[in-house]
């Protein structure tokens, strides 16, 4: 198990390195990176300062080392939109809000997808099965911003149950979390349904029935415990959707998270912040995948010793 974790940690480091190279390269693809990094109207003095700061007068591999060195010290440059604020501070200040929303969205997605997936497998081809598919499909086929606006229109404007935007109380979180989480329900539920069908058809479920185990225990203990393993591998992918989904949803609900920030930064051509968000999002997603893999190894005994 220890060796497994060490191996996975090393893989994670390599992936992070790759991300840094990609981000570094993208900024330099179009000739003078200052054209991408700085607004057109930047002053000559500013351009000089950046040239020295990023070591742009040096060969490419040296530039990369400078970039990495700065990054490791947490220096991703200064925001242009909010002069004097460090780009990383801006992003980290909001990361908590985004993660909070993603966590609630995840809980919502699981809370909906698990019972729907399990029930539609148990009652395959029944009305429950159909209804489950319908709910899931709606969430996946309607765009985030559209659901968000419709929600605001119904629950905030008409019913006046929930606040339209901002952050503060739990009520503020409900709509954006549902919008982000709902999208995930379809994929997750389908995975749970198909792996439940497989489990329910297995010999070990038959043996449990032969032992006289009750149907409830068959479903939730014997079948679900196995069926939950496959969807777990999807959690890594799902985390990236949750993070990416935050971009539109946070904007619709003016949720003060990284997604909202990056949209503002793009509009203002604040490249330092955009670049920092790319690296922070990538790091978060990679670390989540690492956590999922380790969790997976704990849940599935067959992986531990391989």
């Amino acid at each position: 198990m220890q060796r497994f974790i060490i191996r996975r940690l090393l893989q994670t480091l390599v992936t992070l390195l790759a991300v840094s190279i990609i981000v570094f390269a993208l900024a330099r693809l179009s000739g003078d990176p200052r054209d991408a990094l700085m607004p057109m109207e930047a002053s000559r003095a500013d351009r000089e300062r950046i040239l020295v700061h990023w070591g742009l007068d040096q060969p490419v591999h040296m530039q990369y080392l400078v970039f990495i060195g700065n990054a490791l010290r947490g220096d991703f440059g200064e925001s242009l939109q909010w002069p004097g604020r460090k780009a990383l501070d801006l992003v980290l200040d909001r990361l908590g809000n985004t993660m909070e929303l993603a966590a609630v969205a995840l809980v919502f997605a699981i809370a909906l997808a698990v019972p729907i997936g399990v029930l539609s497998a148990v009652h395959k081809d029944s009305r429950t099965d159909f209804l489950g598919k319908l709910i899931a499909l709606l969430g996946q086929s309607l765009p985030h911003f559209w659901i968000g606006i419709v929600f605001i229109w119904i629950f905030s404007v008409h019913l006046r149950w929930l606040p339209t935007s901002g952050r503060g109380t739990f009520q503020h979180m409900i709509m954006p979390a549902i919008v982000i989480g709902w999208f995930q329900v379809a994929a997750l539920m389908r995975l749970i349904r198909s792996s439940m069908l497989e489990s329910l058809d297995s010999e070990y479920v038959k043996l449990a029935r032969i032992k006289g185990v009750s149907e409830r225990m068959i479903i939730w203990k014997h079948a679900f415990r196995n069926a939950a393993i496959t969807p777990l591998t999807y959690f890594g992918v799902m985390m990236s959707y949750l993070v990416v989904g935050s971009i539109t949803t946070e904007t619709v609900f003016s949720w003060p998270g990284v997604g909202y920030l990056v949209v503002q930064a793009v509009t203002a051509r604040d490249f330092q912040v955009v670049q920092t968000v790319a690296i922070v999002f990538a790091t978060v997603i990679i670390l989540m995948n690492l956590a999922v893999d380790i969790l997976y190894a704990y849940i599935d005994p067959r992986i531990r010793y391989d």
């Binding site: 043996l207 032969i210 032992k211 006289g212 014997h222 415990r225 067959r302």
Partner: protein, 353 residues
């Protein structure tokens, strides 16, 4: 179409005494999208206390479906028991509801599934799965200490070395033979009256097969339970069983004491099956095999199901299912479904070997 047995000589078809399970005209059909598969189509047999009863037949003849039907576990959702009676200690199993069936499964009738390698749940330890067999039937009245001790004793009973260490193993850490023993242990955990043993079809490994047979013998010697033994191999039946039923395409075509059938098979199919068993002393290289194959589910012959492959078939065989005939006088329980037995002296000829 349950035929009253026609007496060939002075026979009585049903014997009394210690019959604990009496299956009458059982029909389990599988309603698939393409066709209605009559996997079990009017099967009758009985089981005495303490005996080993074999069910032998080719792959797809309906053996597993028959066995699962006894536990009311016909393959869902396609499978349904559409007729018959299963009398178990004077009560018809087909009248029980699901809750009553859960009390019977495991504690009174249990089964070793055809594939013991995959019948253990990969995410629970062996100890967990064996002790579950106790707690499901008895509730949680045992304290953890005695429960643990009972599981260890049980594992020892099926010859698992160092059971106190094996207890916390997961199935993937055990060899095939050991998993088979664990499944065997689970099947006898609650001292059932009947264990149904569905022999692995792909028992390629002869050592594992030999272990399995030894395990069953041990189980029977230590507990005195009745065993229904399902296999392809008439040679193993001859070694293991007291009585046997030969199944073909959802029907039992011949039924009786193993000795009688082995020495004097009356049904052409049984005769062919037995001719295909290698005899140790003869050391035959090529085995006799029956030309043709089981009829496909959609194209069940109207008459005798074996007719397309039978060298004795005539017109009537193709049109009408034969009645059940009794056997030779000294074997009062021997019955056969074949038109040829209208002639009381008829016997299938020896195939050249």
């Amino acid at each position: 179409m349950s035929n009253e047995p026609t007496l060939r000589k002075n026979t009585t078809q049903r014997a009394n005494g210690n019959v604990i399970l009496d299956v009458k005209d059982l029909r389990t059909y599988l309603f698939t999208k393409k066709a209605v598969v009559k996997a079990v189509d009017g099967v009758s047999f009985f089981l005495r206390k303490g005996e080993t009863f074999g069910i032998v037949g080719e792959s797809g003849s309906g053996k597993s479906t028959t066995a699962l039907s006894l536990l009311r576990m016909e393959p869902k959702p396609a499978g349904r028991i559409v007729g018959g009676e299963i009398w178990f200690y004077g009560e018809n199993i087909l009248d029980k509801n699901e809750k009553e069936m859960r009390k019977i499964r495991g504690s009174r009738i249990s089964m070793i599934l055809q594939d013991p390698q995959t019948s253990l749940n990969p995410v629970f330890t062996i100890g967990n799965q064996v002790s579950e067999a106790f707690t499901v039937q008895e509730g949680r009245k045992n304290n953890q200490g005695t429960l643990l001790q009972r599981v260890i004793d049980l594992l020892r009973k099926v010859n698992i070395a160092a059971p106190e260490r094996r207890f916390s193993d997961y199935p993937h850490q055990m060899s095939g033979g050991m998993k088979q023993r664990v499944v065997g242990a689970i099947s006898i955990s609650c001292a059932p009256d009947i264990v149904i043993a569905d022999e692995p079809t792909s028992a390629l490994d002869l050592t594992i097969q030999a272990q399995y047979l030894r395990l069953l013998r041990e189980i029977q010697q230590t507990t005195g339970i009745s065993i229904i033994f399902i296999t392809h191999d008439f040679g193993i039946v001859a070694k293991m069983c007291d009585r046997v039923a030969i199944m073909y395409a959802g029907k039992i075509v011949e039924h009786g004491p193993v000795r009688a059938i082995f020495n004097h098979p009356l049904h052409p199919y049984t005769h062919a099956l037995i001719s295909s068993v290698p005899r140790m002393e003869a050391r035959v290289e090529r085995l006799f095999s029956i030309p043709g194959q089981l009829p496909a589910p959609g194209e069940m012959p109207a008459g005798c199901r074996f007719a397309p492959r039978c060298m004795y078939a005539d017109d009537r065989c193709h049109k009408e299912y034969p009645p059940t005939f009794g056997g030779l006088s000294e074997h009062t329980e021997h019955t056969t479904d074949c038109w040829r037995l209208e002639d009381p002296t008829w016997e299938p000829k020896s195939y050249s070997r």
